[in-house]
């Protein structure tokens, strides 16, 4: 009787996991295996190719556009991850002070951009920063700064897209910071107030150390998602200089869908794949280590 129950349970469990396992195998495991296989061939986007060993990888070292893509991706990470996290933290501190309906309304204003599709963000900012009619350019005029065609100039492209990305994604980090701030017991602040601790030392001694785990989490999530940047860079590059602005995913797209070189595209994708996995694993180990020290 007991044995039959256990068999029934296992059968029921297998029926429950079957849909997910089928989907997972088809759109995740199989493509991942194919990714590594194709990267060793000279296959076009669709169709078979010959085995070429590590040729596709060897070619990357002398591939100038790959170099540009690596550099641009790193540059983008540099200008978005830490500044974006700091901006979100500052906003969260401000929002956390408010209460009730005002807080909900202000939070909604900061959060709304995050909920919008990238193409809406693109059209919005393309208009706001439009060289001829953009409202930001009137501001430039008023401040006496010469107008800049931001998305057509290589020097300005990444910073501009970086700032727009911070604007777009900060809402997410703000939510995480707010969730963290709410878990700090008010008694700690009351005790600090009794000790006549000033605003700054309260922040330095209490808020900042208690918020560090959340800050680390936000930094990691930001880092990993910015390594995978594509959408904004692609959209703002249209009509500009895509080859100067290329980032890693964009380069995979160019190789595969514009040059019809599936094998070479896959090699680039594998490089990004490995980078992201290494960063994730490193981060996991680091948080485990620091968590161990705290305890």
């Amino acid at each position: 009787m007991m044995l039959r129950n256990r068999r029934n349970e296992a059968l029921f469990a297998l029926a429950l996991i079957a849909p997910f396992v089928a989907i997972y195998g088809l759109v995740f495991v199989y493509p991942t295996i194919r990714l590594f296989m194709i990267s060793l061939t000279d296959a076009p986007l669709i169709g078979h190719g010959n085995f070429v060993g590590f040729d596709n990888y060897a070619r990357l070292s002398s591939d100038r556009r790959f170099g540009t893509a690596v550099w641009n991706t790193a540059y983008f990470v540099l200008i978005t991850v830490v500044p974006g996290t700091l901006v979100a933290f500052a906003i969260a501190l401000g929002v956390n002070r408010l209460a009730g309906r005002l807080q909900a309304a202000i939070l909604a204003l900061f959060f709304l951009p995050y909920i919008l599709p990238v193409s809406v963000v693109y059209l919005l900012w393309d208009w706001t920063l439009n060289f001829q009619f953009g409202i930001a350019m009137y501001l430039f005029d008023m401040l006496g700064i010469a107008r800049i065609p931001l998305f057509k100039s290589t020097a300005w492209f990444m910073p501009a897209v970086g700032i727009i990305t911070i604007w777009w994604t900060a809402g997410f980090s703000i939510l995480l910071f707010l969730a963290g701030l709410r878990t700090i017991p008010t008694e700690i602040y009351e005790a600090a107030a009794l000790d006549n601790a000033g605003r700054w030392s309260t922040f330095r001694r209490i808020t900042w150390p208690l918020m560090w785990p959340i800050t680390a989490l936000v930094l990691t999530i930001q880092l990993i998602s910015q390594l995978k940047i594509f959408d904004q860079v692609y959209l703002f590059s249209v009509g500009g200089r895509p080859n100067d602005n290329v980032v890693l995913v964009y380069y995979v797209f160019q190789r595969a869908f514009q040059s019809d070189q599936g094998g070479r595209a896959a090699a680039v994708a594998v490089v990004l794949f490995v980078i992201v996995i290494v960063v994730s694993v490193l981060n996991f180990q680091l948080t485990r280590l620091s968590g161990g020290r705290d305890r």
């Binding site: 296992a10 396992v21 990004l272």
Partner: protein
């Protein structure tokens, strides 16, 4: 002495509040500006100075977008594919998360570790192989083709497992005592208990799918099969260089998700913090 100090602190607090509110208004200004511009006639939009309010209101751009362009068709594509992604992802994840949390079966831990590991894999690197797969199945330019590669959200399983783990074992034992079948235990006890999470996860899953760009952009080459997120950036002829019309398209594409957020603000917030691994 302490009274003046307290008053000074209050003054600083007030200043910080004012700065926060001011920043929020600046932050959201581009959104306001797009909506207002879409309600102005084109000649007002390109005036060389800032007008915060339209001189003459017009909805003509909206009438144009909804009648003369393919936006209506794109709406249908977006709604259908986002609903399909949401229903398939949330239901398969719920079942799988429940099985891993509550039932014993062979290779349970292997499956759990695979799911945790896949959480780290960047889906963007699989575009070449997703294209190969979907093209091989003959699904380019179809709804199924748009939906298929979007069905992996391991994080939803992870959230479900955490929730089912949190349900006290007594519920299960009581149900087993009553001779309830496994299916009844799941549908009458565990699912009703977690409606809140299910709603929250469904809403964000819908928003993620509505907003996804890279895959729908690759999977579709015919304009009539595009989702709205892709369509408004790809079909310039439909709108020309009329800025007001482009902004109208942007407002129409963003409106459903913005409204969904404003209605379900608490649920969305909850699901997003949960998906980052924080219990709200």
């Amino acid at each position: 002495m302490t009274a003046t100090r307290a008053r000074r602190l209050n003054a600083i607090g007030l200043i910080i509040t004012v700065i926060t509110v001011f920043c929020a208004i600046i932050w959201a200004f581009p959104l306001y500006w797009a909506v207002v511009s879409s309600l102005k006639p084109e000649h007002e939009v390109v005036r060389p100075y800032i007008e915060l309010w339209p001189e003459t209101f017009t909805v003509s751009h909206y009438v144009f977008a909804l009648t003369e362009t393919e936006i209506g068709r794109w709406y249908v594509n977006s709604i259908l594919t986002a609903i399909a992604v949401t229903v398939l992802t949330v239901s398969s994840s719920l079942f799988c998360g429940y099985a891993i949390s509550q039932l014993n079966f062979p290779f349970r831990n292997v499956l759990w570790w695979l799911i945790l590991a896949s959480f780290m894999v960047p889906v963007q690197t699989l575009i070449v192989n997703h294209f190969e797969l979907v093209a091989g199945l003959g699904l380019i330019n179809t709804w199924s083709g748009i939906v298929l590669p979007q069905l992996i959200h391991p994080v939803i399983i992870i959230v479900y497992k955490q929730f089912f783990d949190g349900v006290p074992k007594d519920f299960r034992e009581a149900a087993v005592m009553d001779n309830a079948s496994e299916w009844r235990i799941l549908t009458k006890v565990y699912i009703p208990m977690n409606w809140g999470v299910t709603t929250a996860l469904s809403i964000v899953c819908f928003i993620w799918s509505w907003n996804s760009f890279l895959w729908p952009f690759l999977a579709v080459t015919k304009t009539d099969m595009m989702t709205i997120t892709v369509g408004i950036t790809q079909v310039n002829d439909a709108f020309g260089v009329y800025y007001a019309r482009q902004l109208t398209a942007a407002v129409l594409a963003g409106l459903p998700v913005a409204v969904a957020y404003l209605i379900f603000q608490r649920r969305v917030t909850e699901a997003i913090t949960l998906s980052a691994g924080i219990k709200g």
